[in-house]
């Protein structure tokens, strides 16, 4: 049995069926069907404005904050419809964390940045527990050695790459199941990007990761599955190795070879 079939046997963590999203009159996503397997990195690629970030924001219902945004269809997380009335959006977002394009640490201390999630979700029994969560989150995001002496300094004083890793630490501190990443490296230099990519490869062992990226190389390096979005539709979805070496659709080929996009 080869690797692909094993992955197909595993129940997907996230299942999207027939998802349509509208911003006012604009039809941003049309009939999206997508299965995201657990403990893998799924890359969403495609030209700007194709709807990949919109889809990402559907998974933790961040689009709820945009008044004009409307969504139909069904997205399930572990078999539960995340848009059903019984789902508490606060708990959903604790389960599905998000890292944004521009690193956005809170203008508070590094410690408070990481401790914020556990605090509002009541995850730490006492101060010692909280210290432990902050320590392990920073450790896992590879930031501990760089910041252990200045946990009380502002998170905004760190470098861009460190800020992004702080945001990742903040996200994993609430121990989510899924981490959504919206172009996490687009504002970083190559070295900081390499560090974050390494980190993502590590995090895959524990978390299901969905990453939106504009870098073909990054998608090829990091992900096991790739979905190619074009004008609000998924034109092609499959194993990353398959898509990058042998795309079935002409448009995908054109895009990944850099003919447009």
């Amino acid at each position: 049995m080869d690797k692909t079939t094993v992955q197909e046997l595993i129940q997907p963590t996230i299942k999207a069926r027939n998802v349509d999203v509208y911003y006012g009159e604009t039809h941003a996503l049309m009939g999206i069907d997508l299965d995201i397997a657990p403990k893998t990195v799924t890359a969403l690629i495609g030209p700007s404005g194709c709807g990949k970030s919109t889809f990402l924001r559907c998974i933790n219902r961040m689009n709820d904050t945009i008044p004009s945004c409307r969504m139909t269809g069904k997205i399930t997380l572990d078999g539960e419809d995340i848009y059903s009335k019984n789902i508490d959006v606060v708990q959903l977002r604790a389960k599905v964390g998000m890292v944004f394009q521009k690193a956005n640490p809170f203008p508070k201390s590094i410690y408070d940045n990481v401790a914020y999630g556990p605090r509002i979700h009541g995850l730490a029994a006492d101060d010692k527990d909280l210290d432990e969560i902050v320590f392990s989150s920073l450790q896992r995001s590879g930031l501990w050695n760089e910041v252990k002496d200045r946990l009380d300094k502002s998170g905004t004083a760190l470098s861009g790459g460190q800020q992004q890793r702080l945001c990742i630490a903040r996200t994993i501190a609430v121990n989510p199941e899924v981490i959504l990443m919206d172009e996490p490296c687009s504002a970083l230099d190559p070295i900081a990007t390499a560090i974050i990519e390494e980190l993502i490869a590590d995090l895959k062992e524990r978390f299901t990761i969905v990453i939106v990226t504009h870098s073909m190389q990054q998608a090829a390096r990091l992900s096991q599955k790739t979905a190619f979005f074009h004008l609000g539709k998924i034109l092609e979805f499959g194993d990353t190795s398959e898509i990058f070496t042998n795309p079935r659709v002409e448009k995908t080929k054109d895009y990944i070879t850099g003919r447009y996009g």
Binding site: Q91, L92, A94, M98, N104, F106, Y116, V174
Partner: protein, 434 residues
């Protein structure tokens, strides 16, 4: 051919460049002259206020030997503390002073002259004698050298604001009084000192006795009420409108109206306060509570507008971060947006409060314009406010009130500068970068 074309082009462009520079210089010159004329006006204003007002902070005293005549004071044998105090409060201090003055100027005879002689010292000096006697009963029967407060007219003369060159009928001090003053002056009995009373007493009909503590206290209590009402309501409204309210025609209408309210003449708010707080709710007239409520209505638009601007300036990425972490909208606002916008909100609030501090018109409508001697102790006591006090003194015919008016303006300006300075400090101190 091409060379020539290029040359003319460069000549033209040079001319155009020159013209552009000229325009820029002209604009700079106009801007600078505007700024300078503003500064000049400000300087003239400050000089005029300071030159009339600074003398209001000093007072004139005349040294007299006061004989604590036991015959006038009467017997205090066997009185306990309170009985003694009550007795001293009732005796004729005026006669004590008059007799002592008559001892000094023994040639003065006749009711009218004695009356004029006593006019040299302030009616407030009776109070000074009384206080001294209450403090120490052993002074009875002794002659005490006291620095009695001079009357306002003497004060004005000593400060050079009444000239002895004009005709007697046209000045407030008679030739006779001037002669006495000359004698006192030559004996070194006329003293000048800092007018502490000005900062420790309330209003008075006598300029030399008038102070601004009552008005300052009234202003403080009024602003306290204003702040307590306007700040929470203003910030909450701003937060609701900016972050929670749906954006539709109704909220647009509310927004337009808030912006319009900020430009409504303040006296309209006074009428509103009169109609609602006094006539409908029957709250006490002239009270800082009502003044504060009325000024809160006036300040609310300012606070709401500046708070909304400050909240809007918080980058959306911070909200996204908090909401992405699973914070509720309210948590995102209170944990992140409000703390970040607080410097802007506080700056707007302090500016609004400074505006309220200088406001007179609405307070006139709700009766905070009365002559009130007592320093208010609470928000329900009758009170007046600093700008109203200035207005009242400016309206008084006595010459002595002229310098008091300017002195009160100086105090008001100092408060305003302090509040604006506080606003700048708050902005710099708490501003966070992200």
């Amino acid at each position: 051919m091409t060379d020539l074309k290029q040359n003319t082009a460069s000549l033209k462009s040079q001319a155009r460049l020159k013209k552009r520079y000229r325009k820029e210089r002209l604009f700079k010159a106009i801007g600078l002259s505007g700024l300078l004329s503003g500064l000049l006006a400000l300087t003239i204003m400050m000089i005029s206020i300071l030159s009339t007002g600074l003398s209001g902070f000093s007072e004139t005293r005349i040294k007299f030997d006061i004989y604590m005549d036991p015959e006038i004071i009467g017997s205090t044998d066997g009185y306990d503390e309170t009985e003694y105090r009550d007795h001293i409060a009732q005796i004729n201090h005026s006669t004590l002073i008059r007799n002592s003055l008559k001892i000094k100027f023994s040639d003065v005879k006749g009711r009218r002259d004695v009356f004029n002689l006593q006019k040299l010292v302030s009616s407030g000096s009776r109070e000074e004698v009384r206080r001294l006697l209450i403090e120490d009963k052993n002074l009875i029967g002794k002659t005490i050298a006291m620095d009695l407060l001079a009357s306002s007219n003497v004060d004005m003369y000593v400060k050079g604001q009444i000239s002895r060159d004009v005709n007697q009928s046209e000045r407030k001090i008679s030739d006779r009084q001037l002669a006495w003053l000359d004698i006192l002056e030559s004996e070194g009995r006329i003293l000048k000192g800092f007018n502490w009373k000005f900062f420790s007493t309330g209003d008075s009909r006598e300029p030399e006795l008038a102070g601004i503590l009552g008005a300052a206290m009234g202003s403080f209590l009024t602003l306290l009420v204003t702040l307590l009402i306007a700040f929470p309501i203003g910030v909450a409204s701003a937060l609701y409108l900016e972050e929670f309210a749906p954006h539709n025609k109704w909220t647009d209408l509310i927004e337009i109206n808030i912006n319009n309210l900020a430009a409504v003449p303040s006296i309209i708010f006074g009428l509103l306060g009169l109609a609602i707080f006094l006539n409908v709710f029957n709250m006490p007239r002239s009270a800082p509570l009502v003044g504060g409520l009325t000024l809160a209505l006036m300040t609310l638009p300012t606070i709401i507008i500046s708070s909304r601007a400050a909240i809007r300036a918080v980058p959306p990425s911070i909200r996204d971060a908090a909401i992405g972490m699973g914070a509720s909208n309210l948590q995102a606002q209170f944990h992140h947006v409000l703390p970040l916008s607080m410097p802007g909100i506080m700056t707007g609030t302090i500016i609004g409060m400074a505006q309220a501090l200088g406001e007179t018109a609405p307070l006139l409508m709700i009766g905070m314009v009365a002559f009130i001697v007592d320093v208010p102790q609470g928000v329900l006591d009758a009170a007046t406010a600093l700008p109203v006090q200035i207005f009242l003194w400016a309206d008084s015919p006595e010459r002595g009130f002229m310098e008091k008016t300017s002195a009160a303006i100086i105090v008001l300006l100092v408060f305003l500068i302090m509040m604006n300075g506080l606003a700048i400090w708050v902005r710099h101190k708490f501003e966070k970068r992200w």
